[in-house]
């Protein structure tokens, strides 16, 4: 990871990174610091008086059964969504890379979903998967009650996993495809001439060379599923039924924004941020180690 060649003009280095650091300070760290302060206080919605309460907010969330439910659902969602979107994206990228007829069309259409705004994605999926109104309702006519995300928590979770994966799959797909296409063709041809079949080539050549991209996408997907999934939940399930899709980030919004309890929301945000930082750290430490940059 270390570059052998490096420049030594440190003042320049500072100047180059200053704009971003400045922006990040004003729009991220300053508000975040305030949020941290709030996590240790209680305050009325309109502000004005912050009363220090120490760890009371944290105590309240850690002893709340509903909060732990949220944590569990979030991990499950992250795992399922990432596995599905990364796995499917890899699969489709491998297919498209084979350059069969019509691959350009496929390449374009697979990327489409990423351009769609979260409200639109949620809406479309709500339409399609509604048990009484959507197209999937046909399933219910054969086996009544088979699919009902409004009543069955597992179905609701499946719905948001599908919606989120649909969008992220597009994103992952394009990165995988690009990485695959950057593998020099001579390498593949040489292996083919040595007698390695399609699957063998995939395993021995393509996968290892895809490792950096895989790592990048893993981090992005896991983070995104913890942190960016609010829009989809808001539009499709609203956290239900009976909290089956009450992701941590959604809970923060509903407690803080709807419940107007900024301190509680701040405390939960700190915890969420902690979780994601730890997960990312783990990924950097243990996964990136095995990744070789060419």
């Amino acid at each position: 990871m270390e570059k052998r060649a490096a420049f030594s003009d440190l003042r320049l280095a500072g100047a180059l990174i200053a704009p971003q650091l400045l922006l990040v300070f004003v729009f991220f760290y300053w508000p975040a610091a305030q949020a941290v302060y709030w996590a240790f206080t209680t305050q009325p919605p309109f502000g004005g008086s912050n009363e220090w309460v120490g760890f009371q907010n944290f105590e309240q969330i850690f002893t709340d059964r509903v909060y732990w439910n949220s944590v569990g659902i979030s991990f499950l969602f992250a795992g399922l969504s990432t596995a599905l979107s990364v796995g499917m994206a890899l699969l489709f990228a491998l297919f498209v890379d084979r350059r069969l007829t019509g691959y350009r069309v496929h390449r374009f259409i697979y990327f489409w979903p990423y351009a769609v705004a979260a409200p639109a994605v949620g809406l479309a999926f709500r339409f399609i998967f509604a048990p009484e109104a959507g197209f999937v309702s046909a399933v219910n006519q054969w086996v009544p009650g088979l699919w009902n995300p409004a009543l069955d928590g597992k179905d609701a979770l499946a719905l948001i996993v599908l919606a989120n994966s649909w969008k992220m799959m597009a994103y992952n797909f394009i990165f995988f495809l690009a990485a695959l296409q950057s593998i020099p063709r001579p390498l593949i041809e040489a292996a083919a001439m040595d007698g390695a079949g399609v699957l063998r080539r995939a395993r021995d050549i393509q996968f290892p060379l895809l490792a950096p991209t895989f790592f990048f996408l893993l981090v992005i997907n896991v983070t995104e599923s913890f942190v960016d999934s609010f829009g989809i939940v808001d539009i499709t399930t609203g956290g239900g039924p009976a909290r089956a899709t009450d992701l941590m980030v959604y809970k923060i919004y509903s407690d803080g924004f709807k419940g107007l309890d900024y301190s509680m929301a701040a405390a939960q945000s700190i915890v969420l941020m902690g979780v994601v930082i730890v997960l990312t750290f783990i990924q950097f430490r243990y996964v990136e180690r095995r990744v070789h940059y060419s």
Binding site: A130, E132, P149, L151, P241, A242, F257, K258, G259
Partner: protein, 444 residues
């Protein structure tokens, strides 16, 4: 001749300058929460005000929902960017009363010489937005109450032409309808307004101690021990028998949609949707509204007002306040009450408004048939301690908690009584937290 020319030039100069002055309207911001069709109607109402005079311009900005309107106002206030007028829903009343950020309506009317007869407001409405001393702190604007929407054809199938008056009669009808082949007798969702809040009011049952919170911030919820618990258990029975159905946006159709396309024979909803139902009902749908049914052994009381009211925020300039005062004056005229209630289902909030509309034949028009029932329901009896309104802190959160527990019970994950007990426990926690946040403050 010369004098005439000078006079003419002077006159045109004067006219020109006053014309330019007229262009300089004083602007003030008015944030509202309604969306969809109801939001569009509010925008039109705003334009009516702007077109009716030259001095002020209300800049009306939709916030994308009642909850967003509340949140955005708070965020704006914290950054000193608040609007002059805001539309806040019933559940936000306590937060705003305790905020110290608003200009109480009665004081505002006095300071800006708005001639308002506070007794002209229907007591059921006035009490909701008034302090414990009876002073109104906000201006009621779009008020509604809950009604039973019923499908006359479905009832005809069991040989009835009148809507049920008691709950027992209603449930009985629903069961008879099922045998007569009606797919869904009653569609409901987890919204607490109808089953909990309105139900408790008309049955004169408390939702919380201390007169539903009017008496102090240390109120506690008690609805898991009142007839409401039985009511919910009865709904669950209907659900299990296949007589009632859950209809939410997640399921694919809201209760209104299930009613307007003829699937469900009855729903409980706000009178505000009367116009919406009229315009989206499938052709040939024979429907009507009735007052909410009551359990046989209970004496009917007045129902609660729903909807929103307009608050004036602190910290704005006198000119903006003049504009807001003009807006309030405009909205409180009987003509505007007529216009607004014609455009949508909201009811007139003043007695004179109601009389004016009656005189103009509003309620005789078949299109509006049944809307007067809302007024009847709202004024059935003078408000009691339990039917005056709800003054509980963070009520939005409490509603969400109850909704969640009801959902768990109705989807079979929990026993109903257990769900209600937990809803009360969690909601009480919310109340205690609210109390702690406002330590030392008392409700006005």
């Amino acid at each position: 001749m010369k004098n005439a020319i000078i006079a003419a030039v002077a006159a045109s100069a004067l006219l020109g300058s006053s014309g330019a002055e007229a262009q300089q309207r004083t602007k003030f911001e008015y944030w509202y929460g309604l969306t969809g069709q109801l939001g569009e109607i509010l925008e039109q109402h705003c334009k009516r005000f702007n077109n009716s005079q030259q001095k002020f311009e209300a800049v009306c900005i939709g916030q994308g929902g009642y909850d967003k309107a509340e949140q955005n106002t708070i965020a704006a206030y914290r950054s000193k960017q608040q609007p002059t007028v805001i539309q806040i829903y019933d559940a936000g009343t306590v937060n705003f009363m305790l905020s110290g950020a608003i200009y109480p309506a009665n004081q505002f009317a006095k300071d800006f010489s708005i001639d308002i007869d506070w007794t002209n407001y229907f007591p059921g409405i006035a009490n909701y937005y008034a302090t414990s001393k009876g002073e109104m702190w906000s201006f009621p604007y779009n008020s509604s109450t809950a009604l039973l929407y019923w499908n006359k054809d479905a009832w005809a199938k069991i040989g009835k032409t009148k809507a049920p008056e008691t709950i027992e009669e209603w449930f009985d009808d629903l069961r008879k309808m099922k045998t007569a082949g009606v797919e869904c007798g009653f569609g409901f969702d987890y919204d607490t307004w109808m089953p909990l809040e309105q139900f408790s009011a008309i049955h004169n049952l408390p939702i919380a101690t201390k007169a539903n919170g009017y008496g102090g911030l240390d109120a506690e919820l008690v609805f898991n021990k009142t007839k409401f618990a039985d009511y919910m258990k009865d709904w669950k029975k209907l659900l299990d028998e296949g007589v009632a159905r859950i209809q939410t946006a997640q399921v694919g159709k809201t209760i209104l949609q299930s009613f307007t396309d003829g699937t469900c024979a009855s729903v409980l909803s706000s009178v505000a949707n009367h116009g919406v139902v009229g315009s989206t009902a499938k052709p040939g749908l024979n429907w009507g509204v009735a007052m909410l049914p009551v359990y046989k052994d209970f004496k009917r009381h007045n129902s609660l007002v729903g909807g929103a009211s307009l608050w004036i925020m602190q910290g704005k300039s006198p000119q903006e306040y003049e504009g807001a005062a003009a807006l309030m004056k405009f909205l409180s005229t009987p003509e505007e009450a007529l216009w607004y209630s014609t455009a949508n289902g909201y009811i007139p909030v003043t007695k004179t408004g109601f009389d004016y509309m009656n005189k103009n034949g509003f309620y005789q028009d078949p299109k509006h048939a049944g809307r007067e029932l809302a007024i009847t329901s709202l004024t059935f009896t003078p408000p009691t301690e339990n039917s005056r309104g709800i003054r509980l802190g963070n009520f939005t959160q409490i509603r969400a908690e109850i909704r969640s527990e009801l959902e768990a019970a109705f989807t079979g994950k929990k026993d109903m009584q257990v769900a209600l007990d937990e809803a009360v426990a969690r909601s009480n926690q919310i109340l205690r937290r609210f109390e702690q946040t406002f330590k030392g403050k008392t409700l006005p």
